[in-house]
Subunit: 248 residues, 2 copies
């Protein structure tokens, strides 16, 4: 398996010595990364250090591919710093943005447990540092510390709920509604300020919401005209009437 050796399209297979990937450091600071990750944060200091010794941190430059559909899955990737775009290509060739990973998020686990290949693409959106844990090491950890399995189960459950909810939205709501809800949910927690910066380009947002950049542009303009939001400079948006947005 391993994207290690032979590969027809052999991008980034060996993370340790491709010119563009300089291996960042040993276990020295990896425990910082480990402690950030929800699936490990119940462990004690000793255990975290143990885990951090199994981890390699690798730097990806903006635009670099971490893995792509068809690659064998052999590692768990945890974001220490930076952002990773996870997207899929439909049969039709159209791309759909699935999720954006930030510090503490992980990817690559799905294919790991099924011993199968990736079905999505992962690409660095900016300079990003990934903590990489090999499949075999992860399996040993799970056997040694079963509580980690519970954490991953919880995370998978969360994502599954999320994915089903997303599917239902695509299936039953129109584009305008999806956009309105997306915007409203951008200020959910930190509701102090009614302003926020779009977490991605409008092109990506279109891909995420299953529509086109043109429609995003038009609908956001409409929402502004209707008084629900206000567009400021550089992707800043002020939510004027959150309740209203949620009723669309």
């Amino acid at each position: 398996m391993g994207s290690k050796d032979i590969h027809p399209q052999d991008h980034n297979q060996d993370h340790t010595n491709t010119s563009s990937h300089h291996h960042v450091d040993g276990a020295g600071t990896n425990d910082i990364c480990v402690s950030m990750v929800p699936i490990f944060n119940h462990l004690d200091k000793e255990q975290m250090i143990e885990i951090s010794k199994l981890i390699q941190t690798v730097r990806y430059k903006k635009g670099e591919t971490v893995y792509r559909a068809g690659d064998d899955s052999n590692s768990l990737y945890i974001v220490r710093e930076g952002r990773i775009r996870i997207y899929r290509l439909a049969e039709s060739g159209k791309e759909q943005l699935i999720r954006i990973l930030r510090s503490g998020d992980f990817a690559g686990a799905m294919a790991l447990f099924n011993e199968t290949i990736h079905e999505s693409y992962a690409e660095a959106m900016e300079e990003t540092y990934l903590c990489i844990l090999k499949r075999s090491d992860l399996h040993s950890l799970l056997e040694k510390y079963p509580a980690i399995s519970f954490k991953i189960l919880a995370e998978f459950s969360r994502r599954l709920e999320q994915a089903e909810k997303q599917t239902t939205r695509f299936a039953t709501e129109k584009v305008e509604t999806r956009i309105a809800h997306f915007l409203a949910e951008c200020i959910d927690a930190k509701s102090l300020s009614q302003e926020f910066v779009l977490p991605m380009s409008k092109k990506d947002l279109a891909s995420y919401l299953g529509t086109t950049p043109e429609t995003i542009s038009r609908k956001i303009y409409e929402l502004e005209v209707l008084g629900y939001i206000k567009q400021k400079e550089h992707k800043r948006i002020e939510i004027v009437d959150r309740e209203g947005l949620l009723l669309i």
Copy 2:
């Protein structure tokens, strides 16, 4: 709705003494059920019997609700016999069919690991026998036999891939394509025969594919005119040109 009686809020908490649920039997035949379930099928005979003692089998009549959105999640439901519709309601009130459970499938696990409420509805499509495993018992089992966690992780991974794929289809493909692919995939494995019976009503299919019964009807007719398929009596469909369908 629950064809049950009282229940303003407290439906199906106690499966053993609601009038409409007659509790089927003790551990006697539950091991049959246990052995059917992929997440348990690596265990040995002894262990299966142990598990089957924790299980209660409950009978649901056609149309009965097993759980609904908002209910606390406190059990894992495994289908021994029959079919269960899992669906969601969008904010707009529209219903979307998520999945149909058959013998050996399970539901209710997602909310279990997050200690949260259900977000979907489960309803018997016909007379159905469910094996019910309480949350606390499941947790004990997972601690005692960590390998079960791996099985569930694998199952969750599979579903997550599936859910993301589904989302991508909704986001990027048009209704006609979704229908064509759905039909083509109905004969994937058992490809000996080119004929199959639709696994659900066209109304449900519409809900599953995020469209309306009218559109389903029209598009299937179009596919027939174009020579890709042939409709026979009572939901039987013959695939004439599977390759062609997949290219739509």
